[in-house]
């Protein structure tokens, strides 16, 4: 971040004569890490890099986090500079004057696309190096319920799944996650969750979203899955009461099983301080080899290599209307989804070379 703050000013000053001084541009580019290669690639290529730096200039003093993390590479190679500056300023203007829309759930699509996703993307691409498989199993339009395993002490797997769908799906779909009620009790967390499009894991909200044709993500294991000890990694816990199946049946949307490998090892939970957890009102209080012994440093997740696999959709539209009330069918479908996820998990684990690579 410090880098992003200093360089734009430097770059701004050279803006007028930049075209005459390719050498300087190159050095600026290489200091900006990932954009370094653009300097080597002829006359047109440096523009996006420079455009980005320049846009950081006017934006960063006010909302530096937002401006500096603007996603590079969304613009075409030609005519990018002015357009990007204009777009960045228009964005800033809309944010400052409150001239943007949120949906009934508080989902702020613009903020998610421009800022929050850009903050999560480095974690997704560089830190966990997530590999996505089977993205074609997610329909391009219409409602679908993605059911995934849950692990990792902190719900990073949900966020990574959201980035995976957002960045890899050809139709740019947004995943609307269903979150535990604890999320909406905590300050700041609830605000961010709502703006990211998450909502409370209850049948009403899920059905409303699916009815609107949204892509809904749910992790039916809940706290049992995310707060399980390290020794039980990749063993799926009970899938609640299978409420997600009846929700999908009622809306007639397909269920897409999703298996996430890698999230189990980010915080190896070797103990659970139950008394402390009860005191703080949390479902569990993790003790890992580093947390809380090393303080905030111990809260840094291990850089494991992740794989997210979306499985074959399980259709639910062939069932009669009263099927949602049939407990046997519910258990059967729940088991089918659960087994498919568990099976895929084992398969991915066999294919995995190591936890970190």
């Amino acid at each position: 971040m410090a880098d992003a703050k200093v360089i734009p000013f430097d770059d701004d000053r050279s803006r007028g004569s930049a075209a005459q001084r390719p050498a300087r541009r190159r050095s600026t580019g290489s200091r900006r890490g990932g954009l370094g290669e653009t300097g080597e690639m002829g006359e047109v290529q440096p523009l996006p890099g420079r455009a980005r730096a320049q846009e950081d200039g006017p934006v960063s003093p006010v909302e530096d986090a937002k401006g500096a993390t603007e996603q590079p590479g969304t613009d075409g190679p030609g005519g990018g500079l002015e357009r990007r500056v204009a777009a960045g300023l228009a964005f800033l203007r809309r944010r400052l004057t409150g001239d943007y829309d949120v949906d009934d759930f508080g989902f702020d699509e613009e903020l998610t696309d421009q800022v929050l996703m850009s903050l999560l993307r480095p974690v997704y691409e560089k830190y966990f190096r997530v590999e996505v498989k089977g993205i074609e199993n997610i329909p391009a339009k219409g409602g679908a319920l993605i059911v995934a395993n849950h692990s990792g002490t902190l719900p990073l797997d949900g966020l990574m799944m959201q980035v995976a769908v957002h960045d890899h799906h050809p139709a740019d779909r947004h995943l609307r996650l269903l979150a535990a009620d604890l999320v909406f009790v905590l300050p700041v967390v609830n605000e961010l969750a709502r703006k990211l499009g998450h909502t409370l894991a209850c049948a009403e909200d899920a059905e409303r979203l699916l009815g609107q044709g949204e892509l809904v993500g749910v992790m039916p294991e809940g706290f049992k899955g995310i707060g399980k000890p390290f020794s039980e990694r990749y063993k799926l816990q009970r899938f609640g009461r299978g409420g997600f199946v009846s929700t999908a049946l009622r809306q007639g949307v397909p269920i897409i099983p999703c298996s996430i490998v890698g999230a189990e090892e980010i915080y190896p939970m070797i103990g659970n301080a139950k008394t402390l957890a009860r005191l703080l009102g949390f479902p569990y209080f993790p003790l890992t080899p580093t947390f809380p012994w090393l303080g905030p440093l111990g809260a840094v997740p291990l850089p494991t290599k992740w794989t997210i696999q979306f499985g074959e959709p399980i259709p639910t539209d062939g069932y009669p209307a009263e099927a949602a009330e049939d407990p046997m069918l519910m258990f059967n479908l729940t088991d089918q989804v659960r087994e498919q996820i568990q099976h895929t998990l084992y398969k991915l684990l066999v294919q995995r070379r190591s936890v970190f690579f």
Partner: protein
Amino acid sequence: MGKVVLVTGVARQLGGRFVRRIQRDPEVDRVIAVDAVPPAHHLGGADFIQADIRLPTIARVLAETGADTVVHMDVTGTALRGGSRATVKETNVIGTMQLLGACQKSPTVRRLVIKSSTNVYGSAPRDPAVFTETTPPKSLPSGGFAKDTVEVEGYVRGFARRRPDVAVCVLRFANILGPAADTPLASYFELPVLPTVFGYDPRLQFVHEDDVVEVLRIASHEPRRGTLNSGTFNIAGDGVLLLSQCSRRLGRPTVPLLLPAVTWAGSLVRTLGMTDFSPEQIRLLTHGRVVDTVQMRETLGFTPKYTTAETFADFARGQGPGLVPPEALAGAVDRIAELATRGGGRPTTHSAN
């Protein structure tokens, strides 16, 4: 024979507006305006009867006038002209009981319209994101206006059971705003600096005064073809505004405070009697509330003229410019944009922000 409409709570400007509006309807013969205090505004030729709905006299008024439609608008959150909270509660709850008792005895009453509020749903983090008319609240409102509305609706349900021949329409209004609104939320938005709860950005919904008057009018007439105007309906403008958006659109800076501090400050302000910044209000400004309006559209057949954003814009127009007017901010950004596109922008202009 035409209709005789009895309206309570006409000393408030919304009640006054409704009385003036409904008199223009051709099927209405006579409008009887009732309140405990004489209104400051004119009622456009309606018969004003000074009667306190908390007293049994209201039964006599109802019997003498032979009203066939009763529009109960005297369910409000704020006291009129410096009354205490206890008076407001009595008017809301005891007044409704008396009025319903009077209606039950009256053979002429055919239609009852109650102005309720979406406050009945409460506001809690464990609630679903969108309330429908049938959503049970996760935590019942503990006090204040919200509890009044819950009790009022309870009495109205009892009345509807005892008098199935009377068409009862309960309208649950979202936060009412307009150029002249006198709701607690309106007075909150009039503060120069808006205290907010740190870490929460509530979703709010507004309904415009014009739409309130219009939907009350629809509810107090015979239903139009293909619609039904008895039952319970949520009334709100389309869309949602976050509190942060509201403050930016008003140009009033926010001061995020920790929740305990807000609760404490709220009780202090209440003790000093400055405003009725009730705990319910704080809960609304913490967790927000959004209601579903499908029933309003499809069953009641009403489409609001103003969306939530337009309602708020209309309200904001009636307010003075805030400390940081959005126009000024937009102007500053535009100036930077101009400099940037000219290509000669110096970094020093950033401080203008």
